[in-house]
């Protein structure tokens, strides 16, 4: 769906290049998360993929064609939810969606259906200026979906949303994947990336050399160890066991039979740990 090869880009008057040899592929129907510190070039990568930035080095293909070669009809097939709200504040939510729907040339989705999907149906006739930041962000997502796009670019899609609404948004992102949509997402929220992304790439110093599934990354960067906490007379005790031959580890088996076990979990890394390990040395 998206193929970026040896991409480089430097903003005018910038001392260093934002992208320096970035290569990645986003496959059809997958949710790909591009992660990285602030200013690492995540939004720049998305903008190049959307055809909003020219004068980049390398090769960028979207829908199998060079970015920019499809003219403006390209935008009938993509949806973009920016990091900040991009809405007409004096119009209502419904008026906004009807306006944006009219700007596309193909069939569009029912605005009320989209508002309902994101829990905004009761606010359909409310002016956007009266919306909270979280509501605006959800309406932003509705706007991005109005043309029923094949490819979605989501930039920090749950910014400003409370945990319940953020979960609603994440569920919708997964539902979109089930409908066959391809989603290219950027986020700072590692838990979110872990939860929704099929694969993630870490963008550091203009390159994404580490790309894998969240599960593989957590395993690769964690310890193959099981941590067990037990109830002791005065305090809890912590025991760690190597995962290799765990079934034959007598101390572990004794603990299992003792009935004193409180908690037990493997010490694979979280995506936060991987992020810090990979990008931690980079100044924002």
């Amino acid at each position: 769906m998206i193929s970026l090869e040896n991409l480089s880009y430097a903003y005018p008057r910038a001392q260093t290049a934002t992208l320096a040899g970035l290569s990645l592929d986003v496959k059809d129907g997958e949710i790909f998360g591009l992660l990285g510190p602030s200013g690492s070039g995540k939004s720049t990568t998305q903008k190049i993929s959307m055809g909003l930035l020219q004068d980049f080095g390398g090769k960028a293909l979207v829908f199998g064609q060079p970015v920019g070669s499809m003219g403006r009809k390209f935008f009938n097939r993509i949806g973009v939810s920016f990091e900040l709200p991009t809405l007409y504040l004096r119009l209502t939510a419904m008026e906004n969606l009807k306006l944006y729907a009219a700007l596309y040339n193909g069939p569009t989705r029912d605005p009320l259906e989209l508002l309902t999907l994101l829990g905004l149906e009761k606010d359909a006739d409310k002016r956007v200026s009266d919306f909270s930041k979280g509501m605006k962000m959800r309406l932003n997502l509705c706007r991005a979906l109005i043309n029923d796009p094949d490819l979605l670019f989501l930039d920090e899609p749950t910014t400003g949303q409370d945990p319940a609404r953020a979960r609603l948004t994440r569920n919708l992102i997964r539902q979109l994947k089930e409908e066959g949509k391809t989603i290219f997402l950027t986020t700072h929220n590692m838990a979110e990336a872990d939860e929704v992304c099929d694969r993630v790439g870490f963008l550091v110093k203009g390159r994404a050399d580490i790309i894998d599934t969240p599960a593989n990354l957590k395993q690769k960067h964690g310890q193959r160890v099981l941590e067990v906490t037990t109830t002791a007379p005065t305090d809890s005790e912590r025991h760690t066991f190597p995962m290799e031959d765990l079934g034959a580890n007598k101390t572990f088996l004794n603990l299992l039979q003792s009935g004193k076990i409180n908690t037990m979990h493997t010490l694979e890394a979280s995506l936060d740990d991987v992020f810090i390990k990979v990008a931690g040395s980079t100044d924002d």
């Binding site: 403006r72 935008f75 991009t86 809405l87 008026e95 040339n105």
Partner: protein, 242 residues
């Protein structure tokens, strides 16, 4: 007319509708439009009273004759200001970014705004000219055309210079002074052409220096100056809009 070829009728209607709603829901914009469009009517209706008053107070006999250029150009300036403010809002609040990722695009949208503005200003000026200059019918169309460009100039200047809506409001006071630019042509000496770089000067030149029979050369110079300044501002505007 390319914008109307780029946009389908439904798209054009929805954009016009959204702009109309935005203006109606913002009293400042609405009041400015209202003032702009009523000024020529007021000047026409109370012409003799105004002349009598200014003659007795400041000693100018036919004040309304000088005020004609102001009343003629002010509707276009205010419509241009309202459009410029809408564009500033579109930039600051984000819709312009969202429009960039639709088939219409930022360029298509700016074209829509410019053409719509020019059409409204053209119609408003034609109407004003009909009221204020019944004795010079030959000037109505060329003046309406030039003043419609003037309105686009105002909106582009606002977006090219102002960094935000607050600056846009402040800048409007300076831009309103441009309504006085045609009066520069009243100086009956060759050095007045130093003011020729100011587009509004040529409106005055057509009004005050050319007889009712239109001078094609003056109109062509006015057109070149207007288009030149417009092109320059368009380049700055595109840079400012990212």
């Amino acid at each position: 007319m390319s914008t109307f070829l780029v946009l389908q009728p439904t798209q054009l209607w929805m954009l016009l509708r959204a702009d109309a709603i935005s203006i109606v829901r913002e009293p400042v914009l609405l009041v400015n439009l209202f003032i702009g469009l009523t000024l020529p009517i007021l000047l026409t209706t109370f012409r003799s009273e105004i002349d009598a008053y200014t003659a007795s107070t400041i000693g100018i006999d036919s004040f309304s004759a000088y005020a004609v250029s102001f009343a003629l150009i002010i509707p276009a300036i205010l419509v241009g200001w309202v459009t410029g403010m809408l564009l500033l809002e579109d930039r600051d609040d984000g819709p312009l970014l969202a429009l960039e990722v639709t088939p219409v695009g930022k360029g298509g949208f700016i074209l829509y705004r410019s053409f719509t503005l020019a059409l409204i200003a053209f119609a408003a000026t034609l109407f004003s000219a009909h009221l204020l200059l019944p004795e010079k019918p030959g000037l109505h169309l060329p003046l309406a055309f030039l003043i419609s460009l003037e309105s686009v100039l105002i909106s582009f200047t606002l977006v090219a210079i102002a960094s935000n809506k607050v600056e846009g409001m402040a800048l409007s006071k300076i831009l309103n002074m441009l309504a006085l630019a045609p009066l520069l042509a009243l100086f009956d000496a060759p050095w007045r052409y130093f003011f020729g770089v100011v587009p509004g000067f040529w409106i005055g030149e057509m009004l005050y220096q050319v007889d009712s029979k239109i001078s094609l050369s003056v109109f062509l110079i006015a057109l070149v100056v207007h288009l030149g300044v417009l092109l320059m501002l368009y380049r700055v505007l595109i840079r400012r809009l990212g």
